[in-house]
């Protein structure tokens, strides 16, 4: 299961480190960069809003480790059908 796999979780954390490093502190810029890297597409306004809402929601679950919230977002991208399936 991609959900609980140590490997996928480790990749998601690395992915989160990269977007923080390359996009800076702005969460919106991080989300957009992650989306582009994963899907080779510009996210729509709605997709950005949903993504930011999700990261914020996850932040509440990781009060001590804020990086885990963006890692969780990155894991969702890596586990999504859009990432895993070629059209």
């Amino acid at each position: 299961m991609l959900m609980n796999s140590d490997f996928v979780i480790a990749r998601a954390r690395k992915f989160a480190e990269r977007i923080a490093r390359e996009a800076g502190e702005d969460l919106r810029a991080q989300v957009v960069l992650a989306w582009k890297l994963a899907f080779a597409a510009q996210p729509s306004a709605e997709e950005i809003t949903n993504a930011l809402a999700f990261v914020e929601h996850q932040s509440a679950n990781f009060p001590e480790q804020p990086a885990e919230a963006t890692a969780s977002f990155c894991q969702a991208l890596l586990s999504s059908n859009q990432f895993l399936y070629i059209d």
Partner: protein, 478 residues
């Protein structure tokens, strides 16, 4: 890239355009237009919700013990005194060989003794002493036939109805037709052997042209039987729930622009299932909950059969929790005794005999046998003549798909009976022949499914398991 229309939308819309009208007119004039089947304009949502079968059902679940390779019927289930009479002499007739290079026509009597067993007096060989104890709950069919003399093709015949590749297997048809009684475990489970996959590998639980949702789910043959079942501590609970909601949202939006993509639907469903399996599967696969008596019954204290016993017990636990179909496989060619049958066949029997019989007895004592159909069999039997005539320890028997044995128990099957006969030498089924499609017709009948309506439309053609063949073998129903 996003697609706003599927291929069938494109075709449907063009069917109503001017070109389509003109074509329809021309075809109609020529009488070539098929009746008015219309394409499905809305993507069909397939689910595993339980469905009521159209007919009365005797069976609710199935456990199939797959003896891949071809157990030798005349050494286990089908005594042939004529083989003793003709021992070492030339077989009086034609033999259909698979391995011509090692073929001989010398008649090979069974090295093992047969005796009547149970109230029914069914004759069984000394190789299956445990089966003997439950024989009064078993229907032994001695007239199976597929007539296609190799493993892969005969497996396809018994598993999918025809020798062609790419068709759905029985478990896929059952879950397509009936859904599942549990939404927390896979509807259809394949329990593979730790040594190897059977011949045909993953084809043995393939959904073929049915939606991917109905494919069998493999459970690993050793611990951990399901990988990554436990979430890391920081991702448990609310964090995981939030993650799954967001992922589902992403996947649903992705699916909306790709209507009717069954693989995407199946993957979304398998994600939802995986979340529930974190607790349900752990519980179902936990054999420590079973009593010492039960474990002993399945042979946990016998090294030769412990492993197979574990999988038989898991099969019972899955069925108890609402799983529709479980297959328990022996490994690649375990029963394919071309050579050294004197050594190989007893070993194979020791592996499965006690657990298989325990499964029947255990289901019965729990009141589950009435509604659970147990199948035991492989894709072929063996020939009455010697293969590899190189000394008593080296000889074996070649393939025989023209007449062989398998047994069924429970789920509306009459116990304590034998059905059908092979000829005096055990080569061909000659009386009350049960072809693979007759077995399938009987199976559907037991589950209350109608072969006329259990169909799947593929390329606007209705496909089915039987494709019009098969007779329900009413003689073996209770």
């Amino acid at each position: 890239m996003t697609y706003s229309a599927s291929r069938r939308h494109f075709l449907a819309s063009h069917a109503m355009s001017l070109g389509g009208v003109a074509l329809a007119y021309l075809l109609n004039r020529d009488g070539a237009l098929a009746n008015s089947d219309r394409p499905e304009l809305n993507p069909i949502q397939y689910t595993l919700e339980p469905k009521q079968p159209p007919g009365p059902a005797r069976a609710r679940a199935m456990i199939s013990l797959w003896m891949q390779g071809g157990p030798s019927h005349m050494d286990m289930f089908d005594p042939k005194p004529m083989l003793d009479k003709y021992a070492g002499q030339t077989f009086p007739g034609d033999v259909k060989y698979d391995n011509a290079a090692q073929a001989s026509a010398k008649v090979f009597p069974s090295p093992w003794k047969f005796q009547p067993q149970g109230q029914s007096g069914t004759e069984l060989s000394e190789l299956v002493p445990h089966l003997a104890k439950v024989i009064d709950d078993v229907c032994l069919i001695r007239s199976m036939r597929t007539s296609v003399n190799n493993h892969g093709q005969s497996i396809q015949a018994l598993n999918t109805g025809q020798i062609l590749a790419g068709r759905p297997v029985l478990g896929s048809w059952l879950t397509y037709g009936l859904g599942s009684e549990t939404q927390e475990l896979p509807a259809y489970v394949a329990l593979i052997d730790p040594a190897q996959l059977p011949v045909m590998g993953v084809e043995n639980w393939n959904n073929g042209y049915l939606p991917s949702l109905y494919q069998g789910t493999v459970v690993r043959p050793q611990e951990p039987r399901i990988l990554n079942l436990t979430p890391p501590a920081h991702l448990k609970g609310a964090a995981q729930a939030g993650y799954l909601d967001y992922l589902n949202d992403l996947n649903q939006k992705h699916l909306q622009t790709r209507p009717g993509e069954l693989d995407l639907q199946a993957r979304i469903a398998s994600y939802a299932l995986a979340a529930k399996m974190q607790t349900a599967a752990k519980e179902a696969l936990d054999l420590s909950q079973e009593s010492a008596t039960t474990k002993r019954m399945y042979g946990f204290d016998v090294p030769a059969c412990k492993e197979f016993g574990q999988r038989c017990l898991i099969a019972r636990r899955l069925i108890e929790r609402g799983v529709r179909c479980v297959q328990v496989f022996t490994e690649n060619q375990r029963w394919d005794h071309h050579n050294a049958i004197r050594k190989g066949l007893p070993t194979a029997c020791q592996k499965v005999d006690q657990p298989s019989a325990a499964l029947v007895a255990d289901l019965k004592q729990r009141g589950l046998l009435d509604t659970t159909l147990v199948h035991w069999g492989g894709e072929m039997g063996r020939l009455p003549v010697i293969q590899n005539d190189a000394g008593p320890e080296k000889i074996g028997r070649d393939h025989n798909t023209y007449g062989f044995s398998m047994w069924l128990a429970g789920g509306g099957i009459k116990g304590g009976m034998t059905f059908g006969e092979t000829d005096e030498f055990g080569h061909h089924a000659v009386e009350n022949i049960v072809n693979h499609y007759d077995y399938h017709a009987t199976l559907l009948h037991l589950f209350g499914l109608d072969p006329q309506t259990l169909v799947f439309k593929q390329n606007n053609r209705e496909r089915s398991l039987l494709e019009g063949k098969g007779r329900v073998v009413h003689e073996i129903l209770s």
